[in-house]
């Protein structure tokens, strides 16, 4: 199942990341996973939140440049080699990972990782066939 990640464009200005987090916090939106991709003079904040549509509307209403990006949240065995096993599988089926990052909390005894794939549908198919669990939208809320 695809999950909507929110990407926020951040120009290189003091306190800009704080502005986003403060806005979401004030409106009781919980960040489940986050990462910042940075370039020379701007950054892109990527977040997975409990209420994505509400968060996107809120950000846009506050003049942030933000958009949804489809990602997959994958359960990974929390032990040495756990991630390697999944990456090997993806590699052998020619699925490219654009970027990935980890969730803040755990859901079960497994670690949760966010993947952005070049071809998301093919990736989901491969994961399903190999019985690798992906997180459902409604589960994000409950973490």
């Amino acid at each position: 199942m695809k999950i909507a990640q929110i990407s926020v464009f951040l120009e290189n200005r003091k306190g800009r990341l704080y502005d986003v987090c403060a806005l979401l916090g004030k409106n009781k939106i919980n960040i489940r996973a986050l990462t910042v991709a940075e370039s020379e003079d701007f950054g892109v904040l990527r977040i997975v939140v409990d209420k994505p549509q509400e968060a996107l509307n809120l950000l846009r209403a506050n003049k942030f440049t933000a958009n949804f990006t489809d990602i997959v949240a994958v359960e990974v065995d929390d032990r040495p080699g756990g991630l390697a096993r999944i990456l090997k599988l993806l590699q052998s089926t020619n699925i490219n990972v654009e970027y990935m990052y980890g969730f803040v909390e755990k859901f079960s005894n497994k670690a949760l990782l966010v993947f952005r794939f070049e071809n998301i549908d093919k990736a989901l198919e491969v994961l399903k066939k190999n019985k690798i669990k992906v997180v459902r939208k409604d589960q994000i809320v409950k973490i």
Binding site: F9, E11, N12, E38, S39, D41, T65, A66, N67
Partner: protein, 436 residues
């Protein structure tokens, strides 16, 4: 002080004789201008159908000014006054809206240009004994080729190094014992700042003189460059519409620039009213070519601000001098010697769909060189959350600007609505470079 001339007769001609020569050449110029599509209809409208209609130099007032817009609108051949077969070279400069301006040259035009540049070089005291490193752009830009041929005419040993690649410039200066350089003042300063990094000291060099131009600079900057290099600096003025360099140049007394009045009829006007101003008062320089066949220009408004110094010079040249250029009567920017209009930048950034509605241009000094930063707001609907996409966008803006304005500015992406909004006339350019 020993004064040398390249063409003593022409350079020291009596003023009365000079004025007679100017009138004869002006009439001839009007005759050839009448062969160009553009001037044919324009001169007819003010009752001029032949050079004979110009009875005195004052009659030039009957002729309307020619502007850069006229040059753009007649691109490419509207100002051409000879058969294309007669043309041996073309120089173009970038225009504000993508339309360049063009100057065609016949063989005689190039010959006359070369001689004017040779006069300038000799006026500075340089000679065939000198090793001349020409550190300025070659190609369509007139600075490189202009000085190049003038220096060869004088018999100097010419190193056509062009601009950039400081390391190699220093190597050439060392290996060949360069005695004279031609550069922009900011590049001359930049090169000096790279001495230590390249293990070069002043003692390794044999530099005596620098011809500096293509961008305005102050007397203080001249002194500073003279001091750090222990050389003499001569100010050079020219513009592509008047060939390029070789219009006005300082003699050994380094006090204002002699303008070759047998080749260019000079007027200084009030840029608002178009009226002539008195000698010594500041105004916009207006030139009429007196020797050009392929592209005669009548009363061309340069937009450069200066004033005439009518005092006789100790060098005995009778051609009047103009003061340092103090600014522009339009919004043209000069960045590292390159002329840029803000509208050119707007034209480029606004046609890129990912760019929003606002942009700003920042100019600052980075060491001795100018740095241009173009800040653009991204268009939020085009944001897909992809960093690589944004990096590609930045590069694209940079490369498209480079194609249009020759410079490769630094590009910054900003959030929509984050750049200052202006009511009325927008202040798109923030120039924090120190004033002259």
């Amino acid at each position: 002080m020993e004064i040398k001339y390249f063409d003593k007769k022409a350079e020291t001609v009596e003023r009365v004789q000079l004025r007679k020569l100017q009138l004869a050449r002006l009439r001839k110029t009007v005759d050839s201008a009448l062969k160009a599509q553009f001037y044919k209809s324009r001169l007819k409208k003010c009752g001029i159908t032949s050079g004979k209609d110009i009875k005195s130099l004052e009659d030039i007032k009957k002729i309307p000014f020619t502007t850069k817009d006229d040059l753009r609108e007649t691109y490419p051949n509207g100002l051409l006054a000879v058969d294309l077969e007669e043309v041996v070279r073309i120089h173009t400069s970038s225009g504000t809206t993508g339309t360049p301006t063009v100057i065609h040259h016949t063989r005689d035009d190039l010959e006359s240009w070369t001689e004017l540049v040779a006069r300038c070089i000799v006026a500075s005291g340089a000679s065939r004994k000198d090793i001349f490193q020409n550190m300025i752009g070659y190609g369509l830009f007139t600075g490189g080729l202009g000085l190049h041929y003038g220096a060869e005419r004088v018999g100097m040993t010419v190193i056509p190094s062009a601009s950039g690649n400081t390391k190699r410039q220093l190597q050439l200066m060392k290996d060949f014992g360069t005695t004279v350089i031609h550069a922009t003042p900011s590049y001359a300063l930049h090169i000096h700042s790279q001495f230590a990094e390249n293990n070069v000291s002043l003692e390794d060099l044999k530099l005596k003189k620098a011809f500096l131009g293509a961008e305005p600079y102050s007397e203080n900057t001249r002194r500073k460059i003279e001091e750090i290099y222990k050389i003499d600096v001569y100010n050079s003025y020219g513009l592509s519409e008047m060939n390029g360099p070789g219009v006005s140049f300082e003699c050994v007394y380094k006090k204002d620039m002699h303008t070759w009045e047998d080749a260019f009829l000079m007027e200084i006007i009030n840029s608002k009213t178009g009226e002539l101003v008195k000698d010594g008062n500041q105004g916009e320089i207006v030139f009429t070519t007196l020797c050009r066949q392929a592209t005669p220009l009548l009363r061309y408004r340069t937009r450069d601000l200066s004033c005439v110094n009518p005092e006789p010079c100790k060098c005995k040249r009778t051609h009047r001098r103009i003061c340092r250029i103090t600014g522009r009567s339009d919004d043209m920017l000069i960045v590292n010697g390159v002329n840029v209009f803000p509208s050119q930048i707007e034209e480029v950034v606004m046609k890129i769909p990912e760019v929003g509605t606002n942009y700003q241009v920042y100019l600052e000094k980075e060491g001795a060189l100018d740095k241009m930063i173009v800040k653009v707001e991204i268009y939020s609907k085009m944001f897909k959350g992809d960093v690589a996409h944004l990096d590609r966008l930045k590069n694209r803006i940079r490369e498209e600007l480079h194609a249009s304005i020759i410079l490769r500015p630094h590009v910054e992406l900003h959030e929509p609505g984050s750049l200052p909004v202006f009511e009325g006339k927008a202040k798109r350019v923030v120039d924090s470079r120190p004033k002259l």
